[in-house]
Symmetry: C2
């Protein structure tokens, strides 16, 4: 009777990038060693939770000492599959799209936006930052050709599901969706959502 490989809870996976981010800042400060306590203080997370989370993947620390920052960084990068570069397609060449291609934070974190699509005729062929804007009609061809697996949706809500359908059909398996709508995708496709309204409305609950 084969034992089911116990999967790591998704909520744990979601915290790993935060640990990685904190470790990167510590490294930039010239630090070499840290502790679950210090990481927790920086992130507002208990030290016990950090140790528990890491224990799903192995033993990365040393009793009495803590964690070697560069080593733990490398381990987290490996676990998250960041020991390679991921090419990302951007759909939507509006203001948000421009902010994303101008954002310097992607490159050194393992991601590169390599192609931009829009369906507006007057934008096609123009540039968004350094990148040429391609016709959305060309999405299947270009994405399949470049074997792109990740995409960012930055189009109006009304178009987002149709875009997602094409992306999935073209082989994309992970979508970061800025459109304020829940997408319907196959179970093997990852989706994460960013909707500032949802976050603002969450906070107003607590405002008198």
């Amino acid at each position: 009777m084969a034992s089911t490989p116990k999967t790591v809870p998704d909520i744990v996976i979601g915290r790993l990038p935060l640990y990685l981010r904190a470790l990167t800042y510590l490294a930039a400060e010239g630090r070499e060693i840290t502790s679950s306590q210090e990481l927790g203080d920086r992130l507002g997370i208990s030290s016990a939770q950090i140790r528990k989370d890491l224990s799903h993947f192995g033993e990365f620390g040393k009793q009495g000492t803590g964690y070697e920052i560069q080593f733990l960084r490398q381990q987290l990068r490996r676990i998250l599959h960041l020991d390679r570069e991921w090419e990302v397609a951007l759909v939507g060449a509006g203001d948000l799209g421009l902010a994303l291609v101008h954002y310097g934070g992607f490159a050194d974190k393992g991601f590169q936006i390599v192609v931009v699509f829009d369906r507006a005729t007057q934008k096609i062929g123009k540039r968004l930052g350094e990148l040429e804007i391609f016709d959305a009609e060309a999405m299947p061809t270009i994405i399949k050709d470049k074997r792109i697996e990740m995409a960012i949706i930055a189009v109006p809500a009304a178009e987002a599901q149709a875009v997602a359908d094409v992306l999935v059909e073209s082989g994309v398996r992970a979508i970061l969706n800025y459109a304020p709508i829940t997408l319907s995708v196959p179970p093997n496709v990852q989706v994460q959502y960013i909707d500032p309204i949802v976050y603002l409305q969450h906070m107003t609950y607590y405002l008198a």
Copy 2:
């Protein structure tokens, strides 16, 4: 012995804006009645969870029928304190800031960006969309004067904590932070985070 007023779990509060968003789409489609089942299907949430979440606040449906969409919308807006308009300060007049002020989604959802700050001398006095860019030095004066309680941080990570400190000192009680860093704020101040890198890295875990 006074009973402690049982607070509603924060994770429940976080879902209410999603319910509200889905109801708004249904209303736009001309629908008048919906069910926990239908809402759940649209959101990828179980119907039981939706009913349980709503039960924290009262009884909003009718057995055998479901929920009257406009009524439930109004109730959620009231619960989330969206039956008023919230003025929001934006700090950071870069590409992201521009995308935010151009974004049409805020106004009809209860939020209005009313002032923009930046510390770059060459930007001060210029416009970001319709709004004049003010000197970051003027934040305390203007925010206190306008009694602004919500702010969006769209500055580089290295400046975000200092900005947050000034915002809190000026009376802001809810911050939407786009800078990739965990902020340290008093417990009575709400913070929500948007960092696309964190979401992308979360998804790469699941990519082979």
